[in-house]
């Protein structure tokens, strides 16, 4: 490990270095798993003590957590799937946790069982969590807590160069400024100039991570949303690709349907999938970050 990795720059105090994993929580792991497979992910490992599967595609790790009790029950036994967490790669997870808690983050109680890694985390938007991971170079955190699925390729290649581009977070009306402050003061995110967008969903405000490897998009409900239920939380993940049209063709061939009406149409800049059961959708964004 080099000296610079242990001495984060002033604008990147925690030494953020991209997204280690994104976690979905769900009451329907099989349905979600089938959708993820269509999106090019492969189940590669199973958690030792919890009902959790690790999916992977290229450099993206995606955790599907269906452990009883992790998903807040919806009315009428409706299936629920949510983006439950994002894990930031940092220089020192314990230090990142200590620093953010000292600045006003809510500590999360550890869920680790015996012989499992304690992944420090803090409370994020809605029911979501933000984790800190520093063991992405020396060895994989998944080697400790997960057992490989027999016969599965542990490193399935990415479809059309797909990589994590970022996440979309919803905010209640007039709450964007508070959330911008949250991400700026705790992690050193930078707000992009008003009107600067990527992809095809051009609304809200974009934040760039201090490592410049991923983005967060904050959106408030549209003015005409009326009685539409709106909660704060992580809404969807954005997948980057250098070739959006090729990614669309490859995913359509696997049965993925893209929205192509009204203001949202697939272009070279990006595309948005339809809403799948549980309220899951994926966004494609033109990006060279995976290069």
């Amino acid at each position: 490990m080099t000296v610079s990795e242990r001495n984060p720059t002033p604008s990147n105090r925690l030494g953020l270095d991209g997204l280690e994993f994104v976690e979905f929580t769900t009451t329907q792991p099989l349905v979600l798993g089938a959708l993820l497979e269509k999106m090019g992910f492969r189940a590669v490992a199973r958690h030792r003590s919890r009902e959790v599967l690790l999916y992977r595609q290229g450099g993206m790790n995606l955790v599907v957590n269906a452990h009883p009790g992790v998903v807040r029950a919806a009315a009428g036994d409706e299936p629920v799937t949510a983006v439950g967490a994002m894990a930031f790669r940092v220089a020192d997870a314990g230090e990142a946790h200590r620093q953010t808690v000292a600045l006003g983050a809510w500590d999360l109680p550890s869920r680790a069982a015996a012989m499992e890694l304690i992944i420090p985390g803090i409370r994020g938007a809605g029911d979501s969590h933000i984790y800190f991971v520093d063991r992405h170079r020396d060895f994989s955190i998944y080697d400790v807590d997960f057992t490989p699925i027999v016969g599965a390729d542990p490193h399935p290649p990415a479809l059309a160069g797909l990589h994590y581009f970022g996440l979309v977070q919803t905010a209640f009306p007039e709450r964007t400024a508070a959330w911008l402050e949250f991400y700026q003061s705790l992690f050193g995110f930078t707000v992009l100039p008003s009107g600067q967008f990527f992809g095809v969903v051009n609304k809200g405000v974009l934040l760039e991570s201090p490592c410049r490897k991923f983005f967060l998009q904050l959106i408030e409900p549209p003015d005409d949303s009326g009685d539409v239920a709106w909660e704060e939380g992580l809404l969807r993940i954005g997948l980057g690709t250098a070739t959006v049209p090729a990614a669309i063709v490859a995913l359509q061939a696997r049965g993925i349907v893209f929205v192509d009406r009204g203001p949202i149409r697939s272009t070279d800049r990006g595309a948005l999938t339809q809403l799948y059961p549980g309220g899951v959708s994926f966004e494609l964004v033109h990006s060279e970050l995976g290069a």
Binding site: A102, G104, A105, R123, G124, A178, E181, F182, S185, L186
Partner: protein
């Protein structure tokens, strides 16, 4: 101004929470300012208090009050952070959009501005995921911050989107603080305005200020600073403040009166304020 801009404060009323909520609603108010004691002192526990508030149909103006928070260090700071977290969770459960924080009176608290700003920024960040905003108020006997101008300079310096100011007419008048301060305050950073008056012209000591504040406040229109209270509201309005007003009237006598009578006085006060403002803001007719 409209009636819906005003919240009745439970601290003015005696009796159990449910009776207070009923009386406030019956008087025609649509908002209620809640105190932590209403919730944790409920005989059936906090969930019952939260359920009563939600069932009342009243919008919650805010939740009070976190005291002696800023400027502490070491274990005192950690202790206060735990208290703050607990209050934020209650505010969240009640749907209270604002947590009121009074400037510290603690002899253990430093007045060093960097420390005060850092603590309030931390509190404001803690409040973000809970959908609560933090309103900082200069208590007129605060150890370091005791004027509206002090509180504003701290809030301005903190520059945190989730931290704003509470303007309290009593503390401003009791210290003979300049209402002119409102002319430099960013109205978007005023998260709450609390109104009350008292019955004598001047307060001569810190002890008298505390005694008056805690036991002898009255509703606007009932005191002797009518012009100043009306001017304070007028300036807030003129500057573009569009938030809520609540009546912060601690009064031992009102604690011995039927709830309906006290709420009636509060409603009279709403009408008095509206009347004073309407009178002065009528357009001047030009001759010819």
């Amino acid at each position: 101004m409209r009636l819906t801009d005003f919240g009745m404060d439970t601290i003015t009323l005696a009796g159990p929470l449910e009776a207070k909520l009923r009386a406030i609603r019956a008087a025609g108010f649509t908002q209620v300012m809640l105190s932590a004691r209403d919730v944790v002192g409920h005989p059936d526990g906090e969930p019952a208090a939260v359920a009563a508030v939600r069932a009342s149909g009243l919008r919650v103006t805010g939740f009070q009050v976190l005291r002696d928070f800023e400027g502490l260090s070491g274990h005192l700071h950690e202790y206060k952070i735990d208290v703050a977290k607990s209050m934020l969770q209650l505010a969240h459960a009640l749907g209270a959009p604002v947590l009121l924080v009074c400037s510290s009176t603690s002899t253990h608290a430093t007045g060093e501005i960097e420390s005060v700003v850092a603590d309030l920024r931390k509190l404001a960040t803690l409040a973000v995921p809970l959908r609560v905003r933090v309103a900082y108020e200069a208590l007129s006997w605060g150890r370091h911050a005791h004027q509206l101008a002090h509180a504003w300079s701290i809030v301005e310096r903190a520059g945190h989107a989730n931290l704003g100011l509470c303007v309290d007419s009593f503390h401003t008048l009791a210290n003979e603080g300049a209402i002119d301060t409102l002319d430099i305050v960013d109205p978007a950073k005023v998260f709450l305005a609390q109104l009350s008056d008292f019955l004598w012209q001047r307060i001569h000591s810190r002890e008298e200020r505390i005694e008056t504040a805690r036991h002898l406040r009255v509703f606007p229109g009932e005191g002797v600073h009518n012009d100043l209270v009306a001017e304070l509201v007028r300036r807030l309005q003129r500057r573009g403040y569009a938030g809520d007003y609540s009546f912060e009237v601690f009064n031992d006598d009102y604690g011995q009166m039927p709830l309906a009578s006290v709420c009636e006085r509060a409603m009279r006060s709403v009408n008095w304020i509206a009347g004073r403002l309407a009178r002065r803001s009528l357009p001047v007719l030009r001759e010819g």
